[in-house]
Each structure stands twice: as structure tokens, then as C-alpha cells.
């Protein structure tokens, strides 16, 4: 039986556990054993993005150690955490002959959730069903960071009963940007406004994302504006039968 490691991410763990459960359900249905290394915490992206390299390094070392003792591919329901493993860990350890190879070994085992399903398992139809229109917001780090776009779209196209409607200006950032949303709230607010008005234009009641960060941000904005649209992680849609 294939075993994978789930890196659930700190945001899913703390705010959206249902996303993690949906990932586990889907993988189980595909006959895959899911292991959860209990020492995992956060990937260190907030620190890295803020420029706190020492802090980011401490967390990266912790994460690498945690997963070095496990076997199988690492699957994470987040494009931005996958991007952190794949591109930023090597950047943190650049020139470090002990840690760089370890960081690269971790990166090579890591897959964003939809990437793992489509590219590694060759699965595009999960037998999911849905009722009504949905729209897809490509998260920046999924789309441009790790070049994953075809995979979530293929998976969504095979959800029975779901009508996939195009989100206007879909590729624009929602304004989360991790710490930017608190360091530059005025900027962040403008992009959020635009993202929400584009969502309204799409007329879809549900927006699907691949990152808990975007979800937290857009859903937080929708709640503040008292809108009825929902934001969901793609795993939750795909596990719906």
C-alpha cells in the first residue's frame, strides 16, 4: 500500500480542519495510506516572506527533521507551502553543504494536493458530485509559484453537476500576501474589494481555492461585507459525493 505523508499546514490545522479531513478521505478512497507526523507545525513562510531569515531557518530545520524520519511522498493542500518547500528552503540553505541537500530531498518528495492526484497518481475523476455553479480562483503561489493550474481545473471539470464558471481577472492576487495583509492593510483591502466584485460578477455562489491563506482572506472579506458567497478548498469539493 502506498503511503504518503500529509503536511496539513498550520492554517488548515488551526482554522479549517475540514480541508485536512477531505484530503485524507480522498486519498483513502484511492487506496493510499496517510500518515500524519505529529511534530509538524508551520513551514515558516510568514517569517521567510517578512525577511526574517534566521527565524525561517529555525522552522525549516524543524520541518526537515520532522519529515526526514518518515517515508513516502509529502502531500500538502497548499500551493504556497509547497512553494516554500520547493523554492524557498533551497534559498534559505543556499551554500550550506549540510542542509541544502536535505532541503532539496524534502522538496523532491513534496507535492501540492492536486498536483499529486493528477501528475503522480494520474487521477482526474474522483467521482465527486456538486450541485450548481462554482468558480476557481488560482492562488498566486499555486499558479505562478509552482506552475500548477491545469491540474485543479481538470479535477473540477470532472465534478458531476458542477458548472465551472470563469472568474473575471482570475489571476489577480486577492491581496492576502501573508504579512502584507497586516503590514499594508490599505493595499490589501483594495485587491480584496476587486476580488470580491469579480466573484460577484461571476455569479457563482462558491469560489474554490487551493490555499487556506486566500480562503481566510477572501472569506473574511465576504463576511465583513455581509455577502453570502462561500470560499472552499478544492479538496472539500472533490470529496463531496
Amino acid at each position: 500500500m502506498t503511503q504518503v505523508q500529509l503536511f496539513v499546514t498550520c492554517l488548515v490545522d488551526s482554522f479549517f480542519p475540514q480541508t485536512g479531513e477531505a484530503v485524507v478521505n480522498i486519498l483513502h478512497r484511492l487506496g493510499i495510506d496517510v500518515d500524519f507526523a505529529p511534530d509538524q507545525t508551520c513551514c515558516g513562510q510568514p517569517q521567510f516572506n517578512a525577511g526574517l531569515r534566521k527565524d525561517a531557518r529555525a522552522i525549516a530545520e524543524h520541518t526537515i527533521r520532522t519529515f526526514e524520519n518518515t517515508t513516502g511522498d509529502i502531500v500538502t493542500p497548499s500551493g504556497s507551502c509547497a512553494h516554500m518547500f520547493r523554492h524557498n528552503y533551497p534559498e534559505i540553505f543556499e551554500g550550506d553543504s549540510l542542509w541544502l541537500p536535505r532541503a532539496k530531498a524534502l522538496a523532491e518528495r513534496t507535492y501540492e494536493f492536486t498536483e499529486y492526484l493528477v501528475d503522480k497518481l494520474n487521477v482526474t475523476d474522483l467521482g465527486a458530485t456538486w450541485d450548481g455553479p462554482i468558480t476557481y480562483h488560482p492562488s498566486c503561489h499555486t499558479l505562478r509559484g509552482i506552475d500548477v493550474d491545469r491540474q485543479p481545473r481538470e479535477l473540477l471539470a470532472n465534478v458531476k453537476g458542477a458548472t465551472l464558471v470563469e472568474l473575471p481577472q482570475a489571476e489577480e492576487c486577492c491581496g492576502f500576501g501573508g504579512i502584507m495583509s497586516v503590514e499594508h492593510p490599505e493595499l490589501s483591502a483594495e485587491w480584496l474589494k476587486r476580488k470580491i466584485s469579480n466573484l460577484e460578477m461571476s455569479q457563482a455562489p462558491v469560489m474554490v481555492v487551493t490555499d487556506a491563506g486566500c480562503r481566510m482572506h477572501i472569506a473574511g472579506g465576504l463576511n465583513r461585507q455581509k455577502k453570502s458567497q462561500r470560499v472552499m478548498h478544492i479538496a472539500e469539493v472533490l470529496s463531496h459525493q
Binding site: A50, L52, R53, C140, G178, L187, S188, L192
Partner: protein, 668 residues
Amino acid sequence: MTTFRKRILESINNENLQTALDNNTERRLKGRAAAFESIPDWRERRLRANKIRADVIDNLNAYLEKFIAKNEENGVIVHRAKDAAEAIQIVLNIAKKSPQSRGVRGENQKESSRKVLVAKSKSMVSEEIALNHALEKENIEVIETDLGEYIVQLRHERPSHIITPAAHLKKEQVAELFHEKLGIPYTTDIPTLTATARKVLREVFLTADIGLSGVNFGVAETGGVCIITNEGNGRMVATLPPVHIALMGMERIVPNLNDLALMLSLLPRSATGQKLTVYTQLLHKPIQNQTRHLVILDNGRTRLRNSPLRESLYCIRCGACLNACPVFRELGGHAYIGSDLSIAPYPGPIGSVISPGLLGENYVQLAQASSLCGACKDACPVNIDLPKLLTRVRAGQTEERGKKKDGAGLSSSTKFGLQMYTRIATHPKLFTASQKLAALTFSLFAPRSQWIRLPAFTGWGYSKDFPKFAGKTFRERYKGKHGGRETSIQVDKFAGEQVGRFEGEQVDKFQSEPVSQFIHELTALSGNVQQTNNATKDIIEFLKTHNISKIHLEPNVLDENLLREAGIEFTSEPDPQIIVGVTNAVCGLADTGSVLIVDGALHASLIPEIHIAVLKQSDILPSLPDAMHLINVTRAAVFVTGPSRTADIEMTLTIGVHGPKEIHVFLT
């Protein structure tokens, strides 16, 4: 709130600015996308361009040596400036030695007592070193001749965009400005505004003592200096005044003409959505009766080259990252300020890297204003990893390795919070305990809600609510269902191998007939093409129907006896009164509709309102790279791609600025 944030908020609340910026963004993004469709192998080109730039920066000193030696061979006077002060002094010294300054130019007393006049085409390096201000202090008159630059100079502002300097203004503001400063009746008609600038600036070109320009590329192998402009002002300043000063950043080198051709297939497409800029000038030797100085500037570039921000030197200044950037779209160039409140010379994603990189800590705060969304990296024609560089600026890596300051430009509260979180995230037990504590605290404050409304000062609370911590975290739920396990931590050594991933498409060669493609492309740019068996006869007919009796003619192009018989006067000397110039075209380019004009034909193809070029069908070549060998042997050459144009006011395309309003190609 920091002044930077206040400035951002002012920009956001400035409706005029927001409309102007939305216009700029939309049109530029569309234009760029359309232009790239014509080179389906652009991904592969972009990787090649990246490699070329990397090689240049790696071997910069060797390339510069070659470039400088070639220029000296070509009769160009080369100066090197290590910083802004030196560059300014060099220009001042040249100005002081100019004929005007010595009082020998001009025919009467009044003329010779006027200030030294410098006609300037757009140069970001001159903005970087604040050259205009320094020259004006020394009683030298500097006039910007790019329409957008001219507008911001009249408003005493800095350019707000590296390609479209007046991108922040609406036409009503330009109308008011021209009414007030140039004394014309108030009008928002963009062609009228453009024509007014043309008239005023034409006088400047004709009387300037010195022409000053930037440099887009320097070609190491030949010493060629490439300057591209749409309006024609770059050609004017480089060929009309007795002295031309070209000011270039020391990194602006390409190894050879083939590499230049590749860069030129990417730069205009990225910058303005054009296949080729209207005037692509390549200067090798000074033209007759002209002195050319080349000033090569370091000003922090050597330091940048030795720093982790080295890759930012690959930049070819197209401005595509500005147009793609959601931050720039809200701010415009003027809100990119340093902690001393000065406006950064370079805005946008690249500016947030090189402004602190070249000019120091004052500008590090700019790099924090980014979501690292990566739209800039996607847009970059030389594939610079801008998000990575932004995180390096944030990590204090603007200095050479070793002197790093973590969290540059970060607010102290965020820094404190993140450092607390690091402690938690490196201790799993503390992590789970904190999750519980946070969930508990949350339910105390908002027992029934899924969301909590944080106050605005927290940043998050400004425009969105914060989600409830899950009563049971994922790990708790998972443990409940699947049983838990304890991990014992052992450190193993891995010997990982990196797998490089490259992708590229095969070059798609255009197969259609060159002549019809040439006609199609030039016509699309509002140029005219006429096929003819007898160029002189048909041109005479053209002149007759336009009531033109005198032309500026390049020698040996037309049958001069036939012209005389038809009563057409002609001269080979520049004369501002003449409205038609007739030249030979050395070759045509099928894929862009360009014609190559060289040496003796430069003025006849520039100063008159109508340019007629005679081109042999057999001289139409497929594309720019096929023509590069032809310019190697010329003093100066220019690829002309349509009539002169600008989009500096509200991104509205206006035909006919400084160069000809019409171009007619007679194909023989």
C-alpha cells in the same frame, strides 16, 4: 501609520490617479499579450535572454573593456563615472567646453549670450543621478523632449512610470498645464496637445548645443549604442546638436548584434506591445561635424553585482513588471518613497529591488509592499525572479554578503509577533498548546460567531474579519480517528540531487511571403506602401498631387534629371522648411514592417513631416536578426517602423510627434 502607508492611502483615494492607472494597466497588459502572440517561441527566447544577461553580468568587466575600446576606435569619447557626482561633473565639463558656452556659436551678441541649451531624450539614469537639477543649478537650460517627460518637467514632477512618465495624469490636467505654461487655448484634444509640444520642441532640437540621451543597449563586439524611441526625439538629440552625450548604466551591455536582435524582439513587446519600437537607432561613429561622448555610470552597480541582488542587473528596463504589478496599479510611481520621503527613481517591483540596491537603506521599505504574487516574474522578458529578490531585500541583503539585517523595512510589531511565532512553531508541544489557548480565547470573545471583528489598527481588521479557531484542530480530529504516533527525531544526512527542469518550444518560423507580410505589417502601423516600376516617376506624381515643389533628397536615390524636368527642387542639406524627405532604404523587415535607414539618409528621414523611402523588394528580409550584419559597417543606422508616435497622454495613440507623421515606402 508610516508616511509610506499614508502616501499609499492618498494614491488609493485619488480618483484621477486611479482612473489613469487602471487605463495604463489594462492597455499595457492587453498590448503586451497581443504582441507576444507573434513570437510563439517567446518562452525559449526569454530563457535565452536570461542566459545572455547572466553571462554579461558575470563577465561585465571584460565586456566593458571591449565595448570601450571599440567606442574609442569609433571616435567616441568615453568617460567612466563611479557615482552620481562624477557623472554630473563630466556632463558639466562637456557643457562648459561647448561652443555656446565659449561664446563662439551664433551670429550675433544676443545669441551668444544665451544659456547653454541641452535637449534631452528620456534617460532613467539621468533621473537616478538627478542630473537636470544639477545642470540647472549651473545655469544650463535642460529641456526634456519626450512628450511624457516634457509634461512632468513642466509640472516640476518626477516621472511616475519608467516608460510612460505621465501615466498618472488625465488629459484635462495636461490641457490645463499647456494652457497655463505654453499659452495655448484650453483644449483636451490630444493631437492638438501633441502638435503643440512638437512645435515648441522642434525649436529646441534645432538650437540645442548638446543632445543628451540614455542608452538601451551597448554592443560589446562593435561598440554600437542602441537607443530606441517612438516619438523620434531620441534621433533628434543624437543627430542634430553638435554634441551628443549618451549616458548609460554600466550593466546595459549585450555581447553582439545577434544578442541585441533577440533583446529587441522582447523589449518593445514587453514595454509598449510593439513588435519593434518606431525608431531603433544604432550608433557607431559620430556623424559629420558631431562629437559624441559616452558616459558609463557605476553608481552602486558594482556593489549590487557583488550582492545577492545581482540578478536585478539583468533588467532591460521595459517596465512590464510595473504594468503587471497590483501594487503599482494602486500606487503609481510617486508613492514609492524612501524613509526620507524622497521619491524613488525606479518604482514598481524592479524599483523596489534596485532603488534600495543602488541607493541604500532609505528605500528598503518599498520591498515590504508586495504580496509576492509573482505577476512581475511572469511578465519579465529576461526571467528575473523578482519575488525572490524582494524577499532578499526584506532579509537585508542589499549589502554585500555578510552584512545582513533581518526584516528590513518591517514594522516592529509584526517582527515581534513573528519571532514569537517562530518559538512556537519550533516546539510542537508549545504549538498545540497555543492552538488550544487561541481557540479558547476566541470563544471567550465571540462565543457564537464563526468570525471575529478585529480593530482596524491590527491591519487584518481594516477590511476583513478573522476566522474562528477550530474547536478541534485537524491533528486532534485525526488522532481521534486514526490513532496517534510519537515521532522520535533523528538527524540523517541526505545526499540529494537537484533535478533541473527546462522547457522550451521550437521556434516557429514565419512561412508566408516576405513582401506581402512587409506590406501587411507596415500598413497596420499606418504606413503606406506602393509597388512601382519607376520610383522617380511615381514619387513625382505623389509630390504633384500634394503640391510639393522642394524636397530633402538623399543623393543617388532618384533620377535627378527627371526631377529637374518635372520642376522639383531638391537639396541634400537639412532644411526645417521642407516637408518631404526622400531616402533609400537599405533593407526592409517582413515581420515588423521596418525599413533600415543609414548615414547620409538620417536627417532626410527624420526632420520632414513626410518620409518617402525607396526599397527594393529583393531587399526585404524576414526579420531583425537577418539584417544585423548590415549595420556593422555604418556610422549610424536606424530601423524605422511606421510613422513617429506617442501614447504619453492617457495611453491614447497619436501619430506624428517629433519624427515624420507619414511614411511612404515605394517598393521597386
